[in-house]
């Protein structure tokens, strides 16, 4: 259901006009498929911000904030299929691929139980593109951002 500049799915709202975008509007707009705020935990469903599958270790950045406050990366995990990784642990996930059509489940531990009412979640995904390497040997990192409102 569309509501002005926002797209609602259940209790998830993506403000399309506010989505930041490094490469294409399309990936950023669909980056976060759902967001649920529980007691001390934020659950997100997140898509890969590229058009094809990539090794999971190509996810160089996964950052989440709640109401503008960055959430600690050591409290954030990403689950794909039967595997779960911490954000720092993604660097070593060479042998696992993120299939482009699969949704990752991201779980973020919160320091405190959020107040009732609406909250704003911001997600940043930065992905290294392994075949876009410059003359100095540096690979391009594509960064997409999405902002969502979650109700608690």
């Amino acid at each position: 259901m569309a509501c002005g500049a926002a797209v609602w799915t259940g209790d998830f709202c993506c403000f399309t006009a506010e989505v930041g975008c490094r490469t294409t509007y399309v990936f950023a707009r669909h980056l976060v498929e759902s967001a649920v705020l529980g007691d001390g935990v934020l659950h997100l469903s997140v898509r890969l911000n590229w058009y094809r599958s990539l090794p999971l270790c190509c996810v160089e950045r996964l950052e989440v904030s709640l109401d503008g406050v960055p959430l600690a990366p050591e409290g954030t995990t990403l689950t794909l299929g039967a595997g779960t990784w911490t954000v720092p642990g993604l660097a070593g996930a060479d042998g696992t691929w993120w299939p482009v059509l699969d949704t990752a489940r991201v779980r973020v531990a919160l320091g405190a139980v959020p107040d009732d009412g609406p909250h704003v979640v911001e997600v940043l995904v930065g992905t290294r593109i392994p075949y876009l390497v410059d003359r100095d040997g540096h690979a391009a990192v594509i960064v997409d951002r999405a902002r969502a409102e979650v109700a608690r």
Partner: protein
């Protein structure tokens, strides 16, 4: 005049595919609806769920869909992925080893040609024995043309020297952009880039001036916030990276090694023509030069817009190429 054989790069349907509105079989059915003898070009990393260890089930499903729809597997897109690991970037030649698995997958799927996304002369020397040993045609994608890009000229010179019948090139028509595509600019505006900044960078790009001048033009604009300036500068850099201004005559230089064409386009105008790429001139070079390979439509506008109907764009694009091919020289 040789006959024109058409096809589609499956990347063209990447929008509905990424959004799970079309699966691979659905993509093949849609392409088959464009007409008989449709060639297809597939990227394993995009289209195959079990990639990179492609399963027998995926291969069987693909081949069944090919048999049923009548599309023709023409080219499989492989990559030299030098930065798969975060800890070490491979040299280009070291990455050639990755192609063994890609070639094996291509053969299982029924493709006789494998596209390599980039190469150096040194890589070409490593590809020649690989192509001979695996009995596939390896074609290097050219995102530029030799008259404006010396590296492309060096590749063609090395192909001359190697004289390997299984090596060639694929020309992407995005090497010949004349105007920054409007969907790209619209997308940048939706992401926060200011209209004045986009106008300024597009004007400098169209004048053939370097990216530094486009950045300067943006930074000279009054009244922009730091975020707006940053967004416009970033858009300038992306535009210059994505849209090279190649010379049409360069396509003629490529012809002796040309095995395949990705006819890139962004959004057709009301007359059914891509306004940013000189298609009439490019198709004339192919036709009059005796090109006998396929021309595969590659729609890229889906990267920047959900509103463009990919199948409508592909249908009209093939119609336009066919019209241009039939025009009297």
């Amino acid at each position: 005049m040789s006959s024109l054989r058409l096809g589609v790069v499956l990347f063209s349907l990447g929008g509905p595919f990424w959004q799970r509105r079309l699966d691979l079989t659905g993509c093949l059915e849609a392409i088959a609806s464009l007409g008989p003898d449709q060639g297809i070009e597939l990227t394993g990393a995009q289209s195959l769920a079990s990639y990179p260890a492609v399963s027998d089930d995926d291969v069987r499903a693909f081949r069944t869909a090919v048999d049923r729809t009548g599309v023709v597997p023409v080219s499989y897109c492989a990559y030299l992925e030098r930065a798969r690991s975060r800890s070490r970037v491979l040299t280009p030649v070291e990455a050639v080893g990755q192609l063994e698995e890609e070639i094996a997958t291509a053969r299982r799927l029924g493709f006789g040609m494998v596209r390599v996304n980039t190469a150096t002369p040194e890589v070409l020397r490593a590809l020649a024995p690989l192509a001979e040993r695996t009995a596939v045609d390896l074609v290097v994608e050219l995102a530029a043309e030799p008259r404006t890009d010396p590296a492309t000229g060096a590749l063609l010179a090395e192909l001359d020297r190697l004289a390997c019948p299984r090596l060639g090139v694929l020309q992407d028509f995005s090497a010949f952009v004349r105007t920054v595509p409007q969907p790209f600019l619209d997308d940048a505006a939706a992401g926060g880039a200011p209209a004045a900044g986009l106008e300024a960078l597009a004007a400098v790009w169209s004048a053939g001036r370097p990216v530094g001048e486009a950045v300067d033009a943006v930074l000279c604009l009054p009244g922009l916030s730091p975020a707006e300036r940053g967004s416009a500068v970033q858009t300038a850099h992306i535009a210059y990276a994505l849209f090279p201004r190649g010379e049409v005559a360069g396509l003629g230089d490529v012809l002796p090694h040309l095995r395949h064409v990705q006819a890139k386009f962004f959004a057709l105008d009301d007359s059914g023509t891509e306004p940013c790429i000189p298609y009439a001139e490019l198709v004339a070079v192919l036709r009059d030069g005796g090109y006998a390979g396929r021309v595969h439509s590659e729609f890229e506008g889906h990267l920047w817009s959900d509103d463009l109907d990919a199948m409508d764009q592909l249908r009209r694009h093939q119609r336009d190429i066919s019209r241009l091919w039939q025009e009297t020289p």
